[in-house]
């Protein structure tokens, strides 16, 4: 096992792009090589050690045997864990945009909040956020037909709009509320929202969205039977019928506005 610990040397006003912060990119490098990796702040390219302190023993390891621990404020550091396939990233505070973007394996855990585009186009592995997350959790890039395809996302708090937009597979669990259009264009993913949402499942064709709290449901969903899950009654809907969708929307408490 190898543990690499990083911490910002200062407060970043301009956001930093650091896709190199990933077990795949770091595990096989010695500490000097790690320090020399390129990161960007705006239009300035820096070496990692200009912006971050780095601690680690020098023994290289496989990505799967590597933990990257990020201490301090990483809320303005983007693309942490981009494309990671194995290993662990522990963000002890908050993480900036695009954390876990395109990851296919390993574990990304964020102790506080995650910014927009968390686990965008994720293919596998697991992402855990103890606080809130922003818009487009598990979504696809602009214009893509497919968002998250596999893996698991768990957010304890609330998330913004467009949760799991274009999700094709995998599962998402939100402990709080989800913003507008959760699970839009769902094509086979599973989304569970403990709290409330607004117009979930728009244009979904497959998959399941469960909203335990209240939800404003689109008129293009057909009301089905009431089902019992874990002792709670859910109103079941089929939709989105604008696209002949065969998705399943379960709502604990329907708001008739």
């Amino acid at each position: 096992m190898r543990t690499i610990i990083m911490s910002p040397k200062k407060d970043f006003r301009i956001s930093v792009e650091a896709e190199v912060i990933s077990p795949d990119r770091l595990a096989l490098l010695d500490i000097d090589q790690i320090k020399k990796l390129a990161v960007w702040q705006g239009n300035r390219q820096h070496i990692l050690s200009d912006l971050f302190t780095v601690e680690s023993d020098d023994s290289t390891a496989t990505a799967g045997d590597t933990t990257v621990r990020l201490t301090g404020d990483f809320s303005k550091v983007k693309r942490i864990g981009e494309g990671m396939t194995a290993g662990v990233i522990e963000v002890q505070g908050s993480a900036g945009m695009h954390a876990g973007n395109n990851m296919s394996g390993g574990l990304l855990s964020i102790a506080e909040n995650a910014d927009d585009w968390l686990a965008r186009e994720m293919r596998g592995g697991k992402v855990v956020v103890m606080g809130d997350a922003g818009n487009y959790v598990g979504a696809g890039y602009r214009g893509e037909k497919c968002g998250m395809r596999g893996g698991e996302i768990e957010v304890s708090g609330s998330v913004g709009a467009y949760l799991g937009e274009h999700i094709c597979g995998g599962s998402i669990r939100i402990g709080g509320n989800a913003g507008d259009f959760a699970g839009a264009a769902n094509q086979g993913g599973t989304i569970f929202i403990e709290g409330c949402s607004y117009l979930p499942g728009a244009e979904m064709s497959k998959g399941t969205i469960t909203v335990k709290g209240t939800a404003k449901v689109l008129p293009s969903f057909q009301k089905m039977e009431v089902v019992q899950i874990d002792g709670q009654a859910y109103q079941k809907y089929a939709g989105d019928l604008v696209d002949n969708g065969k998705g399943e929307l379960l709502v604990g408490s329907v708001r008739m506005v």
Binding site: Y141, R142, G143, E144, K145
Partner: protein, 568 residues
Amino acid sequence: MIIKGGIVYDPANGIFGEEMDLFVDKGRMVEQAKGEEIDAHGLLVMPGGVDAHSHIAGKKVNTGRIMRPDDSRLGTEPRTGTCRPSTGYTVPNCYAIGYRYARMGYTTAFEAATPILEARHTHEELEEIPIIDKGALTLFGNNWQVMECIRNNDMDMLAAYMAWGLRSARGYGVKIVNPGGGEAWGFGGNVKGLDDPVPNFDVTPAEIIRGLAQANEMLRLPHSIHLHLNNLGKPGNYNTAIETLDLLKDIRPGRMRQVVHITHMQFSAYGGSSWRDFESKAPVIADYFNSHHHATMDMGQLLFGSATTMTADAPLEYGNARLTHNKWSNHDIELEESSGVVPMVYSRKMLVNAVQWAVGLELALLVADPWKILMTTDHPNGSPFVNYPEVISLLISKPKRDAEMALMHDQVQNRTSLSGIERELDWTDIVIMTRAAPARILGLQDKGHLGPGADADITIYNLMPEELDASQNHDLVKKALACAKYTIKGGAVVSKDGQILSTPPGRTFWVDAAVPQDDADRLMPELEEKFAKYYSVQLSNYAVQDAYLPHAQVIRAGLSVESLKEVA
């Protein structure tokens, strides 16, 4: 400049793989010259590539970019000291188009379809494409003025209008797309065949095609009509192709060339009555071309993977969008055309796509004379142009084709003749199909060959044609063709081993055809009325201004030009 010791293929001048030196001076090929020496000993040397049909500029290309950020993010390269940034795969930005053609050894490419009304936009983009020379074909097949002239059987006025339209559009040649269908699409319809009248205009597609072909030859334009057939993309459409070809066989060419160029023939060589019994009719089409001499074609090869379909055949695109449940852009152009854009993924596993893949190859391998068929992918409809090396490696290697077919649906064997075709094209064939023939078919006298006076557009590939078994080493061929050792454009090295060294602006060719003054005088009142009543812009704001073509190359044609080569 002297290019020493290359194995030169210049079939237009009867040179088929001879070791020789080439000389360049002031951007042109000459008999003797001094200066920089490029060592090409044993390497494959040929004229710069000429792409006669590629969607590289204008409204629908840009629509493709705007609706596909998912594509633009592919192939991204940062700005360098020499290059602007590159983006995109099927819909690359302007800079990437220039650099990627140049890297591949291409030095000329023609935009395939521009409505007159939106030609200004096309030229803005063409001017932004670095390095390569360009031109744009102008759409006439659904134009109200054209249809009215044909309905009134006024060929002189039709010729006058075409000359005016080309001048207004700064266009190079006459493009016809699904004639009549674009007008019918104005109310959501289409035409079903050559004799199906165009609603409200009392002409048929057959009359439009014949009329434009005749007027094209009256004007003695450098290029023939360039035709995207009716019923394109539909099972059973090979009949429409043959009927259309027959319709034109008695037309006398105004120059020593074909009277019709059928574009992306692959999409029009289908048998069957539905997608269920869909099959190749490439052998029938090839037979026709082998026994007739008034027509040429380009392949429109389809390759597996991502594409963006874009065409003035708007009803076809609507059908594509419904079929694939994909995003759909449509753009109707008042009084002139319609068009559409739909992203597409072609898959080996889809029988229809696999048959389409085979049809393009069958056409290229079954047409005996390589001067009659150009290698294209109808970029980006069949595949982006960066995949030309893949097409060529399929054409030169039977083993490669067999290996590919082994991955496909069994039915491809039964529905196409490809597995039975032994022919492997040689370098002469390839150079003709990618250089000499496109230049001749377009009527570009200084392109596609290396004779004295020709543009010094030269490609040197890192291949030893005398030592290499191309069929067996198709991977090597593909790799070498993707990245020329040297691309020389207008006498300057623009790309070396894939690195862009300089980015001179390319020229834009357009055709100015003279017509008798009284025909032009009869035309103008009709146009003035059209602008007063129907167009949403003023006549005085319509034509492309010279400011948009700072590197224009005008080619003169028309009824009063005497210096042209006459056809006996």
